[in-house]
Every structure is written in structure tokens, then in C-alpha cells.
């Protein structure tokens, strides 16, 4: 029974990634051959780090960290409200509305924003009519447009896991906390948040990883200013036809994603350890006997 999953993982994940790593040590021999691997070297990595590419990487990391945080800030209150305040009948409808945009192709959803945000588009003219702006909106082809686009495109991936954990959270827990004298803030901090932690972690990973490698949003909405690493990697493969350099950039991108996840993971583990130590409750022996 475990064989299919294992084969799948090997064929469609491990081997392609190893292939990319192998190619990243190759070079481009001439204009009609994108890759040669008869001599292996670190030349492509050297080239990748010596160019303006590094700047695009740091911009990508900023966009994805800000984007993931915004997704969490928007998704958590919504998922909490949906799980605790909305009647079960409406819950299904609202969850459906969250998922409905996913029936439309990612590219088309993103192109939709081109129309909405264009200087002559509806958002721009509404803002001007309401007197919030004196001149047309020039948000397209900026980093701001990409930031907006990624939050829109990945928000549902944050809402769904959060909703699942918050929905499974037994209301009796919160009631018990209230009965024991905790106010709302304290209940949220000490009961809801720790119990929702697995959902938060799942949501953060589900959003951060694909968002960092995103290519379509930046390509459609970013112009020259909102460039992201995914676009840069793609152009090495499709425009320059330099698969070695493209592969090296892809490996750097993967390493950056894993590194960021590892750093935040260690940070979270450290915080949890500190919290546990500082809040350690030693139950008196009497209480233990009573149980």
C-alpha cells in the first residue's frame, strides 16, 4: 500500500529536483544547446550571485513574507468568525464563496486585476469620484500591485486550514476558560491561539512556499518594478535558454524557501519552549492525590 506514494514521490519530486541540481553544475555550450554537463562546475552559482539577481531575491523574500503575514492577519479573524459566530447553514455558503474563485484559472484571475486596477479602470474612477484621489490610480506595474495580487491569490490557502482547526476546537474549552475567570483576550491568547497553532503553521507553509515561487502574479501585475525570482528563473529557461544558470537560480530559490521556513520554525520552537518554561504550573501534591 505504501508503494504508490513512495513511487510518486520519487518520480515526480526527488528525481526532478535532483535533475535540476545536476543541471545547475553544467554550462551552456552554444546558442542552440541550452545545457551541457560534460564539465561540471560552480560557474552558474557564481554568475547567479554576481548579478542583480540577488536584489530580486531579497525583493521576492520581502513580498512573500509581507504577503504571508497579510494573509494570516486577514484570514484569522475571518476563519474565527466563520467557525464560531456563523450558523452552520451559512458556514457552508461562505466557505463555498471562499473556494469559488479557485474554479477560475489562476492566470485569468490575475489578469482580472489588470482591468480592475488600470488607471482608466473601475477602482481608479471610483476613488476619483469619491474624492479620495485627485488623479488616476497608478498601482499597476508596481510592487504594490504584486503584493495585492499575491494576497488575493493565496488567501484561501490560509483560510481553509485555519477554519478546519478553529472549527474542531471544542467551544467548551473557551467556556471553561471563561468560567475560570479569564477575560476574552486571555482566553484567546492562552486557549484559542495555542490550540489553533497547527492550523496557523499549516496555513503559513501552504501560503509561503508557493507564493515565494510564484511567477504569474509578478509577470502579469509587476511590470519592471514588481519582479520576482520565479520570473527570473523562467526567463533563463525560456529567453536565454541557459538551463545551467536557470537551474542554479532555481536551486538558490529552493534553498531560500527552505532556509526561511527553517529559521521561522526554529524561532517558533524557541518561543514555545520559553512560553512553556515561563508558564510552568506545578500542581500541589494534594491535588494529585485527589485525582
Amino acid at each position: 500500500m505504501a508503494l504508490p506514494a513512495w513511487v510518486w514521490f520519487l518520480c515526480f519530486f526527488t528525481l526532478p529536483v535532483l535533475w535540476i541540481v545536476y543541471y545547475s553544475f553544467g554550462y551552456k555550450p552554444d546558442i542552440y544547446h541550452p545545457i551541457a554537463t560534460d564539465k561540471l562546475s560552480l560557474g552558474s552559482y557564481h554568475e547567479a550571485f554576481s548579478r542583480a539577481f540577488v536584489h530580486v531575491f531579497s525583493q521576492t523574500l520581502q513580498i512573500s513574507i509581507i504577503g504571508t503575514s497579510l494573509c494570516l492577519l486577514i484570514a484569522f479573524p475571518f476563519a474565527y468568525w466563520l467557525a464560531t459566530r456563523v450558523s452552520p447553514r451559512w458556514r457552508g455558503v461562505l466557505l463555498g464563496l471562499v473556494v469559488v474563485p479557485f474554479f477560475v484559472n489562476f492566470l485569468i484571475r490575475t489578469v482580472g486585476w489588470l482591468i480592475l486596477l488600470s488607471p482608466a479602470g473601475p477602482v481608479s474612477s471610483l476613488l476619483q469620484r469619491w474624492g479620495l484621489r485627485s488623479e488616476p490610480l497608478h498601482l499597476l506595474q508596481t510592487r504594490g500591485a504584486v503584493q495585492l495580487g499575491v494576497v488575493y491569490n493565496y488567501l484561501a490557502l490560509m483560510i481553509l486550514p485555519l477554519f478546519v482547526t478553529l472549527d474542531r476546537l471544542d467551544p467548551a474549552m473557551r467556556e471553561a476558560s471563561k468560567d475560570l475567570g479569564a477575560n476574552r483576550v486571555k482566553t484567546f491568547r492562552q486557549i484559542t491561539l495555542p490550540l489553533a497553532a497547527p492550523g496557523i503553521v499549516a496555513g503559513l507553509l501552504l501560503v509561503f512556499i508557493p507564493l515565494t515561487g510564484d511567477y504569474i502574479t509578478a509577470l502579469v501585475l509587476g511590470g519592471a518594478k514588481g519582479n520576482m525570482a520565479g520570473v527570473v528563473v523562467a526567463s533563463q529557461f525560456t529567453i536565454a535558454q541557459d538551463w545551467a544558470l536557470g537551474a542554479a537560480q532555481a536551486v538558490i530559490l529552493i534553498a531560500m524557501i527552505m532556509g526561511t521556513v527553517a529559521v521561522f520554525g526554529l524561532f517558533a520552537i524557541a518561543i514555545r519552549a520559553i512560553v512553556r518554561v515561563s508558564r510552568r504550573i506545578t500542581l500541589p501534591p494534594v491535588a494529585e492525590e485527589a485525582v
Binding site: 546558442i31 542552440y32 544547446h33 488600470s118 482608466a120 497608478h138 514588481g226 529567453i239
Partner: protein
């Protein structure tokens, strides 16, 4: 698009004709999805002659024709008309750059399953050297004689041994006069305005050749240079220019007004499509590059190992027909090089012909690129410029 085509010449009801071509189209796309040339050639040999074949077509014509083509580059109605008149059902896969197309053809080693590919002139010699293109039998393209001799026998393909002119064009700019008051007459002016008045609101073509051209033309350097000092200077310029660029956009024409650009670097055919779409065309100005600028020519070629060569010849002959050529020119806005096209277009009152046809004095300033040893470096300089533009 869904109304019955007036050019329909098939002895069947409109409904059944559509059904025939749709089914054939579906099978064509499924086969192409597998990139299976073996499957494809098996199909073509097992059923020679199309279901919708009409009189006058050669009986040996295959029933399909596979294009590897630039996107949106011919009037879709012409493909329908070709199928209706001659039989072969067309299917198009697209590419976004010559390099991209060539790499795929090299990788397939004659088994790509494509019949027709449309490379830009300077790429042809090495494609021939890599045995990617068939030698053409011009006797199968009688309409070849319709081409003006200026556009035949090009330096990259003497005697049209492997290619036939599809269309040619040049590069220039569109300016929004409401935003930009400085007049732009030369590439030097273009650069100056891009770095000052239009800074932050300029689009450059997403094509390294043409961006490189802007610098070399403005500075009086031959743009086929392989001199490293010239390339170093170009690289330094790209980093100066990058912060002023709003977007690298291959087809800014039709969205120029919508996106509110002040200045765009643009192909002449795309600029013309822009002018066709502008509500107030007098607000915008088009300029052609000077003192020197580009002449590019895209060419019909038949791929080595093409499974449907007779259909490919038939299509090339079909598209070189003056009437079809005029219809195609109205769609893409480029000169197809057919004798008498300008007069025919003027008679048909096609707008903005000064953006399609150029006089001999202008032609003398236009030069073709060549693919040489500097090419890989030029591409990397350009991609690095794009990365630097976000800084």
C-alpha cells in the same frame, strides 16, 4: 466569430462542415499534445486527403498542417479559409522567442511533428547548419513570384533555398503628447526623454535585440558589433536606463492608452494596432527610429522531418496570394512584401498605411541583426537589466 464564414467553399451544410473541422481539430490537438510525430505521420499516411477536400486541391495533400508559430500573428479567418478551400486542418502551437522555438526543434531532432515554423531572418543560417529546415522546392510555390524582389534572396538565405518572406517590419515609439512635450526624432531623443520627462512611465520591448539596438543606434555603433568594449558600454547603459523603465512589454500598442504610458518602444505593426484602438489618436504620436534602426523579417520555413510537407507548401502558396496577403496585413499590420500590396491596401482604405509601408529613404536606414558570438552575452546583459529595473 461564430457566424457562418462567407468564404466557406464546402459542399456540405454549415453545421456539418463545422463538425468536421472541429473533430479534426480536436484530434490534431490531442496528437500535438503528445508531440508524437510517429502518431502524426501514421495519421497522415493512413488517411491522405482531407474530409473537407474540395475540387482543385492536389490529391496528395495531407489532411493536417501543424504550425509552430508566434501567437496571434495571422488572421484566424485565413486558416479557416485555407481548410475550407484546400482541406488540411491547421493546428498552431506557439512560441515566444526564436531561441525558444529553435531549442525545441533541436531537442526533437526532426521528430517535433511540426510542419511550418516562422523564424526571424538572422536565425536561419544556423538553423540550416543544424539541419532543422528543409530545402524548399520553389516550383511548389508558384505565388512566390508575387513577392517584390527586394524581399527575396536575403543575405541570410541566398536564393530563398530555405525560407520565404512572411512579413517584415521595424521598430519605433509611441508618445502620449499630453504627458511628453519634448519632441522625439531620433533614438538619442528617445533615450533622453525616457530618462527625464518620461522617467518611470516608459515601456521597453521585452526583446533583447531591440533594446540593444536603441543604445547602438543612438550612439552610431553598428548593432552587429562583437567588440567587448562596445558591449561593456552597452551593459553600463542598461544599468543607467533600468530605473526609468516601468515595464518590459512586447506588445504595448493596444494597452498604451489604458495603462497610461508616456513613451513606449514598439514594433510598427503593434503601434498601428494601438492607433486603431485609440479614442483620440491625435493625442499620440508615432515615430520611426533614426538615424539607423532595425529591419526584421519573419519567414515561412518548412521543418526538417515535417509530417505534412505538401500541405505546408500549399499553405505558403495560399498565403502569398495577393488577396489573402492583404487580409493578413490588415490583421497584423506588417508589410508582407507582395507586389502591389500598398496600392491594394490604399484602394481598400486600410488606415495608417504610413506605419506599414516605408519609402526608400527610410528603408536605407534599416538594418538586419545577425546572430554572432556576442549573442549569449547580449541576452544576459538584457536579463540583468530587467533584474536591475526593480531596484
Amino acid at each position: 466569430m461564430s457566424e457562418p464564414d462567407e468564404d466557406l467553399k464546402i459542399l456540405a451544410s454549415v453545421e456539418s462542415a463545422q463538425r468536421i473541422s472541429r473533430r479534426a481539430f480536436m484530434s490534431g490537438s490531442v496528437v500535438a499534445a503528445f508531440s508524437g510525430s510517429i502518431l502524426l505521420s501514421a495519421c497522415s499516411t493512413s488517411s491522405p486527403g482531407g474530409a473537407a477536400n474540395s475540387s482543385g486541391a492536389s490529391p496528395t495533400l495531407e489532411d493536417q498542417l501543424e504550425f509552430f508559430h508566434w501567437a496571434q500573428y495571422d488572421d484566424p479567418k485565413l486558416f479557416k479559409k485555407f481548410t475550407n478551400e484546400l482541406g488540411p486542418v491547421t493546428h498552431i502551437d506557439t512560441y515566444t522567442s526564436n531561441e525558444n522555438a529553435i531549442t525545441k526543434l533541436v531537442a526533437a531532432q526532426g521528430s517535433s511533428g511540426y510542419d511550418i515554423v516562422v523564424p526571424t531572418g538572422p536565425y536561419i543560417p544556423q538553423m540550416v547548419a543544424n539541419n532543422l529546415l528543409q530545402e524548399l522546392d520553389l516550383s511548389k510555390i508558384p505565388n512566390f513570384q508575387n513577392l517584390e524582389t527586394v524581399f527575396t534572396n536575403q543575405p541570410w538565405d541566398p536564393g530563398n533555398a530555405h525560407s520565404v518572406c512572411k512579413d517584415w517590419g521595424t521598430v519605433g515609439w509611441i508618445v502620449d503628447k499630453n504627458q511628453i512635450s519634448t519632441p522625439i526624432n531620433t533614438w538619442k531623443d528617445f533615450i533622453n526623454v525616457a530618462m527625464t520627462e518620461a522617467s518611470g512611465n516608459v515601456s521597453l520591448l521585452d526583446a533583447q535585440n531591440e533594446v540593444m539596438g536603441v543604445y547602438f543606434w543612438a550612439n552610431g555603433i553598428d548593432w552587429t558589433t562583437t567588440n567587448q568594449a562596445d558591449l561593456d558600454a552597452y551593459e553600463a547603459w542598461t544599468l543607467q536606463m533600468a530605473p526609468h523603465v516601468k515595464a518590459f512589454e512586447s506588445y504595448p500598442g493596444y494597452q498604451f492608452a489604458q495603462l497610461g504610458y508616456g513613451l513606449s518602444h514598439v514594433w510598427n505593426g503593434d503601434a498601428r494596432q494601438g492607433f486603431n484602438s485609440f479614442k483620440d489618436p491625435s493625442r499620440y504620436a508615432w515615430g520611426i527610429g533614426s538615424p539607423n534602426t532595425e529591419l526584421w523579417m519573419d519567414n515561412w520555413t518548412i521543418v526538417q522531418g515535417a509530417p505534412h510537407p505538401e500541405a505546408a507548401y500549399a499553405f505558403i502558396n495560399f498565403i502569398l496570394d495577393p488577396k489573402n496577403s492583404l487580409q493578413d496585413m490588415e490583421f497584423h499590420g506588417y508589410n508582407t512584401g507582395i507586389t502591389g500590396l500598398k496600392e491594394a491596401a490604399a484602394a481598400a482604405k486600410v488606415p495608417y498605411l504610413d506605419m506599414v509601408f516605408f519609402d526608400p529613404a527610410q528603408l536605407a536606414t534599416m538594418h538586419a541583426q545577425e546572430i554572432n558570438s556576442a549573442f549569449d552575452r547580449e541576452v544576459q546583459i538584457f536579463l540583468n537589466m530587467k533584474n536591475a529595473a526593480g531596484a
